[in-house]
């Protein structure tokens, strides 16, 4: 187990609070759930009259990324990340397909759904945490992925 310190939890906790504030702002003003896969997916497959706020939210994510690159570059891995190109493509396909099939991702089910005490979101969150942990276990300890 990693050396776990209270100091090490401050960044995650502060970041989590900002994520919660972002999601709350979207709910307060626009009455929408900040599920990234839903917002992004709805931008790819448009419904009339429902595009502007999605584009604006994703624009905020992108600009937030640029701000982080400038002000807090340690937020990103120094030499890219995510593994080999083939692995990353397979992972992306699974994440995109799975998020739409399961009506949400880490933000929609994990943050917003759990906050609403949604049973569906609890089941989804437990399920994807479990399959993600099993995947990491298999790739790291049994197959020894290049990481």
């Amino acid at each position: 187990m990693n050396e776990f310190t209270a100091i090490g939890a401050i960044g995650p906790l502060l970041g989590g609070v900002l994520i919660g504030l972002g999601a709350s702002l979207l709910l307060l003003f626009n009455g929408r759930v900040a599920g990234i896969s839903g917002v992004f997916g709805g931008l790819l497959f448009r419904k009339p009259g429902d595009t502007a706020w999605r584009a604006a939210f994703v624009g905020g994510l992108l600009l937030g990324g640029l701000a982080l690159v400038a002000a807090h570059p340690r937020a990103f891995p120094p030499a890219g990340g995510g593994g080999s190109l083939g692995l990353v493509i397979v992972a992306g396909l699974l994440v995109g397909c799975g998020a739409r099939l399961g009506s949400g991702c880490t933000s929609g089910h994990g943050v917003c759904g759990l906050s609403r005490l949604s049973v569906r979101s609890l089941v989804a969150t437990v399920t994807f945490m479990a399959t993600a942990a099993i995947t990491v276990y298999l790739s790291r300890h049994l197959l020894g992925a290049a990481r």
């Binding site: 009455g31 990234i36 190109l85 739409r100 399961g102 609403r116």
Partner: protein
């Protein structure tokens, strides 16, 4: 226009939160998921912080909505929440179906393989990393595949009006 500004600000906060929390570092995400190995539990605090804040906000907003006057059909609703939209669109389903579990299961496998979920991947596009670009392109393709595969099924939407 004002809706767009609010959504933009929400996205900006969300992105900075993802960056500050460590969620945009796949190696940290994978260390968090690696419960049987060199486990790094710190990312549990991301969820703790986000859910605490949003849980409280959701409770307050629901109350505002309820306190806002009559909801009877035909009567005007007091526009207290949401501030800039006619109605809140929040899922109300409570059933557990195969789609939900299968989708979440596939999602978790992808998340565990690369350490990216949709939000951090979009935020990481700013680095110009070709791996991130490939991930986001594949994610969009995966969404298209799911849409195509279920297009012949029922006209599904999980979004419903609040209450």
């Amino acid at each position: 226009m004002r809706q767009g500004a609010a959504a933009f600000l929400a996205g900006l906060l969300f992105a900075v939160g993802l960056g500050v929390s460590g969620m945009t570092q796949p190696s940290r995400v994978i260390a968090f998921l690696d419960v049987a190995g060199d486990w790094d539990p710190s990312l549990a605090f991301v969820m703790a912080g986000a859910v605490s804040v949003h849980f409280l906000a959701y409770r307050v907003l629901r109350r505002r909505r309820r306190g806002g006057g009559s909801d009877a059909p035909g009567l005007a609703r007091a526009p207290r929440f949401p501030l800039l939209a006619d109605r809140a669109v929040v899922p109300t389903r409570a059933d557990i179906d195969a789609r939900l579990v299968a989708g979440a299961g596939l999602f978790g496998v992808g998340w565990g393989l690369a350490g990216y979920c949709p939000g951090p991947a979009l935020v990481s596009l700013a680095t110009g990393s070709s791996a991130v670009l490939a991930f986001v392109a594949a994610m969009a393709a995966g969404m298209a595949i799911e849409r195509f595969a279920t297009a012949r099924g029922r006209g599904e939407t999980s979004e419903q009006t609040m209450e």
